[in-house]
Symmetry: D3
């Protein structure tokens, strides 16, 4: 690719991928509302509120690929979710539609299906069960991606990210952990495959205790290679064992499922 | 019920159901942005913009059932859809959560799954395939209904309405028509059944040419009794036969599937 | 048939079927532990404890069909269930194996799958979910029937009877009611079909509010013709509406699901 | 339609449909190897060996619809099956491809799936299980229809005909009977529906004892109205009850399943 | 755990696990009807007939985990199966219900599904197909485990053990072998996972020729690491190749499927 | 085996397997229409046109295993396909039926299901979707294999071969490649397993980007060990990236899907 846009580049995942995805394009265009520091030689830095349609259109123009980490990435008040994840996604897809429909990786979330029980292994055909406003906004984003694909041919990889951190940090993440290496390998496949369509991919490593089944996207050629199991002893030693009726044990979305509606403040 | 709220009461379906549902409650509370005429003896009339959270909260308070026809009921510019069907639904469910969680009938739409082909019979477990901004907003509404059910116990009947008119008006409606009588019978069951949960129901009569399978909600006890087939000869005689590659023939959502994004005006 | 055995002939269903099934055989052999009154011209009356292997063998000999209503037909102490429904069924199948393997109708029960929720429509392939000792004994009986079919060729119709009474008596029975007429028609098919095998049949009329799907045994040619819906108004008028969290509303097995273990007495 | 071709017009079904389908087109073109008698006013009669590619091309030219009953319609020596049902079908589809691709009804047969047991209800997605050379040739024909649809857009209704006679004649036909009225109604729908595609339809009336499930083609709008059950008493009275291990009882294809390979003669 | 009960501790598996599971609890309580030798420092030895309710209650009291290998572990006369596997299981679950509901591993068996053909890969949702009295008793035990879970919250891991021996001993065991190491790893997960519920787990190593699919319990985090394939050459060299119609080749339950009913003696 | 017949022994795969399968039998009988060179010590060479029934019968007699690579192995004119793959297969199975029914490996092809999209992972239960005359002939061959199994007990492994070459040669083959080593291992299992039946096996290595799911034949014990992924960089470097709407990218059958009907010449 000539220019790959990474939104949310100042965030946790975004700042990691800023370095890890540099090989995918001549230029990385990075955007966020927050400060992203200095631009490297191959980088363009654009501060941008995703809720601002005109700014997003300028941001997208000239890119031939988009990794969309931007927006609110956890539960929050409706006004924040609404601006960043509802209006923001609509702005992004409208901008893409007007500017050559670059392939998009949409960072959806396990919270789009968070109310499925951890004892049920689900694949990518299940009906959504969001676990809060954040999850609802991700179902919305998936719906936009699908409609723009069916209607206009816009390609999107919908990645329902589990827990992408250097290491799993608690019991539930032994099921949901996505290593950076595995995520990079997935992104390489997403932008390399001749035809992508609009598949849903669970973003998790090859964890023994997984409750997600990616077999319907085997054709993509992505095979995660890391396994959270190597961290189990460490987690057992450093974190208390959760109660059997804790949300973190019952539901795929974990504690989000018992979180209330966040008040506007 | 003591008080049943019907939103969108000045609309096509709303004005019909205003008379047809009177027996379900002591009082009908009717709301719309448009004029609803005089209140009958058993009616309360409340003009209300669904995008106004405070107004919606006042509207919902004191009701023990809600038939939510309100909002934009066809494709439109994003700002209109957003206010009425995104913000409006969020306002409705927040109001319900704060005021005793009255049972809700949420008027979803076939356009939430409009891109499925007419040659595929689908049931209520399929992943959404919305056919435009309107359909996307209905997927959003379904997600809100589901999350509020899983999280707070709010009950909703999600009804994916086909084409509810006195008679089917074209070839596609021979598959999607929902007679008023069948719809009334369905609504009676929805508010009568001791436990509702959050089921998805396809809103169509017992049409021979149906592409929707309601067998997974048989437990509800609703069996439609009308069949659009009685109108086939009339439609053959009065409307031109559609081309085999017309959107109205290919997709369950019909012409919505080839409609573009509506510009703001 | 020359001789049809009806066990449990003094019980509720047994005494009804004693008259309703007379046309199926030259002679009806009737058995029960209780008094069965006078034998009619075409009847043989045999008092018999199903837990007595020798008595059961004598009972079965010479019969070319068996309708097995006998045993404990509701929850009870383990010793009673064990004698009548565990030992009793084993005795019956051993007797049948030794005496020509007459075709058997085994009266299983909805309580073999009683913990499935009423909001889930199930067919005859689901794994059992018994709701108590009685239900467990019915799963046992189904297992015996299946093993004797796979192993020895013994044919059995496993009928998971819902609620077979003159009329449905409460809300749940609107889903589970089996009219006597429909049951007789089913039994006629069971003993008429050239090859029966060992199918599972849900014993319910064509109730609108059914949560059972018999489509996998359509080949049997039984189509129930009654519908409990005709009794809904009467039940609404005469019984209190159950609470949404009542076991009678939540589970297919109804109140059995919250019944405890019965003490021996 | 202007001109509807019926092949096999001198055969059992063909001669019936010659009169029953006259209303579907201005002209019926009838073909067979055998004598078809006098042409009526609206008829064209063409004697033709389906194994003769040039003759078939001439036969098809100028038709805008084809009901393909022609070919060997029962088990036979390979050379006969091969000429009529392998070479014949290839000739027909090549002719159609070259002459405007008129919509085709391909008379497939239950013998394409004849080895499925009668105790298994199958729908139209199952893998074929032909019961002899005739059944194999029907699988071949279905494959041709599918490939010509996927590749060239040729539309075909693949009808797996059960037993289309005035009345069912034995026990198995109580499951497989297709009344002429129901067949005519099906054919009307096949040539009326704006887009047909290449669906598989089981050709059977609404028989209580059916082992075929047409629900996946509900969208076609065909609902059979006859039921063989009205003939059960008559068949019980006039035909011996088959043994439980007779092929006519075990397999959907009945006696074809135990028929050997017919020798060339 | 403080105290883990292993029943059947004198049996084949029991005596192996007596040493292999010592690390799971401060104290192992061991029970059997047979002699279990001397108690080690961390062991308590209790001779006990599972058919004796009072003895079982005393046995269970004070344990916070149970590995239930006890009972008759192969085909036998009904009186023996009945006492050990019917009455014995009922006693165990009643004792557990009265004494804090310690988590249970119930050693079910492949003979609960023994009549499924080896050419069919099955998962844990299939309906049981027991292959004899022993298999029937295991279906009974699974039913008890399920009912006590649904009704009282009792947690059980139902393990359908294949063939747990040091090495596979014949051709069929190449499919069903469960290495001791893999079994120990499974048991560790069963007693470690915060919430267990009542899952069914096929007890087999990662054998290439498996006919069991454990993917629905992936969430448990157990991944077997041994593979019987390493023993194939040895088995080919030392055992005769079975005939293609041998029960050991046809059925998952092997020779049990052709074993008759054992006489009482 | 004493004598293993390999048909098509002069072809690409045949000539490779001529050396790779020598260990499976005392004698290899090799046949082809083309020159096969000198016979080695353990070889018998028979030139034979598969369309000649008598010659095929002589060829098959005395063999206790058949690897059927013979026939036309790519798209061609109907007369060629018909002779080699229709008449040829019929001749082979008739010969086998008359001469002891030796176990057969039938080289079917991915072109029997070539019109399934590459983005759909399919297993071996799907209905065929052939992509041309060659694919149609393979569906025919599969039908013959199935009918001869159901009817006469003839065992066949239907192998839908992907792309069996030393290395994958283009992008699509990264999904469909079958290494020679994996193929040999599969063939060893096919002729070693005590009971084969008539399974369908996708012939592909353990490629990351596979769109075929062989899990339903896990019981066979074949686990491919090679993975085309090792060749991805090489293919990326040496072949142009295909367009997203190229048949080679859209369909499992690749370019066959857009190939026309080959004219007779």
């Amino acid at each position: 690719m000539k220019r790959l846009l990474i939104t949310g580049a100042a965030g946790g995942l975004g700042s990691v991928m800023r370095t890890r995805l540099a090989h995918l394009a001549d230029t990385l265009r990075l955007s966020d509302m927050s400060d992203m520091g200095e631009a490297a030689a191959n980088e363009e830095i654009v501060q941008c509120d995703l809720g601002d349609a005109q700014a997003v259109e300028a941001l997208v123009e000239g890119c031939d690929g988009i990794v969309h980490f931007g927006g609110k990435s956890t539960e929050g008040p409706w006004s924040v979710i609404n601006n960043a994840n509802i209006q923001g996604v609509m702005n992004l897809y409208e901008a893409a539609r007007k500017h050559g429909m670059p392939r998009i990786l949409f960072a959806s979330s396990n919270h789009a299906i968070g109310f499925y029980p951890q004892s049920q292994v689900i694949d990518n055909t299940v009906y959504p069960r969001p676990d809060g406003l954040y999850g609802i906004s991700k179902v919305f984003g998936e719906a936009v991606a699908n409609a723009y694909h069916d209607k206009f041919g816009q390609e999107t990889a919908i990645v329902r990210i589990g827990s992408s951190f250097p290491e799993p940090a608690n019991h539930r993440m032994l099921s949901t952990w996505l290593s950076y290496d595995d995520f990079v390998r997935m992104i390489e496949r997403i932008f390399d495959v001749p035809k992508l369509g609009c598949p849903i991919i669970y973003g998790a490593s090859a964890n023994s205790a997984s409750f997600w089944d990616n077999s319907k996207v085997d054709w993509l050629g992505w095979r995660p290679q890391d396994n959270s199991e190597q961290f189990r002893a460490q987690i057992d030693a450093t974190t208390p064992k959760p109660a059997p009726d804790a949300a973190d044990v019952l539901y795929q979305g974990g504690l989000f499922c018992t979180d209330g509606i966040h008040s506007e403040d």
